[in-house]
Amino acid sequence: MSGVELAPAEIQVLQDLTILVFAPLLSGAIAKIESRLQGRRGPRVLQPYYDIAKLFRKETLVPEDSSFVFLAAPVVAFVCYLTVPLLIPVLTSFPLPLGYMGDILGGGFVLALAGFSVALAAAETGGPYAQLGSSRAMTFGALIEPSILFVTFTVALVTGTDLPYFEAAAVRSSLSQAVRPAHLLAAFAFFLVVLADTGRIPVETHVSTLEFGMIDEARTLEHSGPALALLKWGSTMKQMVLYVILINVFIAPWGLAGSRQLGPVLLAIPAFLAKALGVGTIFAVIDNAFSKLRLFKITEFMAAAFLLAALAVLVLYLGGG
């Protein structure tokens, strides 16, 4: 197989496909680990695929009084989640041409656009729980934003750019880069951000059916059929995208393809899935070990994430870090 060299555009498409295809698998695997940890047998690993497929066969119900936004939002969000993988190192360690299209902030904006459109659609429906969910999601999204910003600053201070590829390269360059305090702080802060953004304990119980505690999940309550399928699929993709950033930029940017050869590029896919499974296990353990915070205590969680990110920047200010 060696010798076959892929064009950059082909790798870029492959990145998107990886996310598209394997995202539900990752969610299913993590759910499986979680139930095993709780002593249950749990759903099949492939269950998310079945769910999505089933939903695509159902009809779409649109609430009265809602406009085109309601139907457009899932599509917009889905496209957003397909755009971000173009900007981040999913498979290769070297930047692909479209990687220069947007930095970490750009990726963040695209993700935020997805969240915004879903929230907008939820607000449109007039359903009380959906509106509650979207207002909460926007509030906590705004609260976690400063942390993301400061993590970005850290990356910018370390590498002189804020492209995710360069941060990953800096971490790979030497062990002392990987254990330098600023990097550890920023990585941990981003870990907390991912925890919050994927709707995990201690911020949210993602498997709960109790509407009062819901944040992200409540937004999709009014959707049905293919639109809901897109939203569910999209949310697994969002999780995977965040995992990619966390793993391939901050925690373990190893095992990526260093060249455009077909072999290494294809190998990078299982390598990433293995790493993601490891991180997913950590999330599952946290899910079991902690309890959900009261809604008003979530600000404390956000404050902790911000503290770490801000410290990372402060530490870097003094050169060392």
């Binding site: 930047p95 002189g160 360069f166 330098r180 956000m302 911000f306 530490v315 003094l318 060392g320």
Partner: protein
Amino acid sequence: MESLLAAVTAPSAVTDAAETVAILVLLSEFAMLRSALSRSQVNLYAFQSLAVAALAFIVAAERHVNDLFVLGSLSLLLKVVIVPAILSRVLREAPDDVAGSHRLGVASMVMSAIVLSGFGIFVIGTMPIHSKLLPVLALAIAAAVILVAFLLVIVRSDVVSQAIGFFSLENGVSLAGYVLAAGLPLIAEVAFLFDLLVAVVVFGVLMRVHHGRSASLSTRALEKLRG
């Protein structure tokens, strides 16, 4: 891309370790701000002292400063073992819950503490201070620890947090001492430690007296004298 990477100067591993430990000292100070149990307050102090002592050992081993081995062991014994033991003894009969003693919400408390730490770090950053033994960041963090300790004493109205605030301030000063005055004669350092021990005893006596009189750890009863 190569040129970009070349601009990234990676600090040495020892510096990294020292800085990480210093940051742990600061993070435990932040945890004290939030901690809701007097027992965990004492444990956090013990952990912080452990980190400070570890820093002494790192410097001692790396730069072959033998005095620091002695000092590190002494402060380990005193601040990780004896002082927490005294405090736990004093608090044995006291209620464990000091959660209600915040004068500020946790989030605003953490924000103020971040601002204070930032101030401390920036001020030290402007100072022409360099140390052969430790990165100057450790000093900046010591400044941050001291400022946050002040905040801790101000925003928490229970005797345990206030006393721990003072002790952790002393930890911050010790940390600063490793950067500024690693060569300070051992006898002086020992005198400082002895002073701390005496202060701990006095704090303990007063805490016990206060608890004996008011059956609580809150200092809200201690706000009568004015004018």
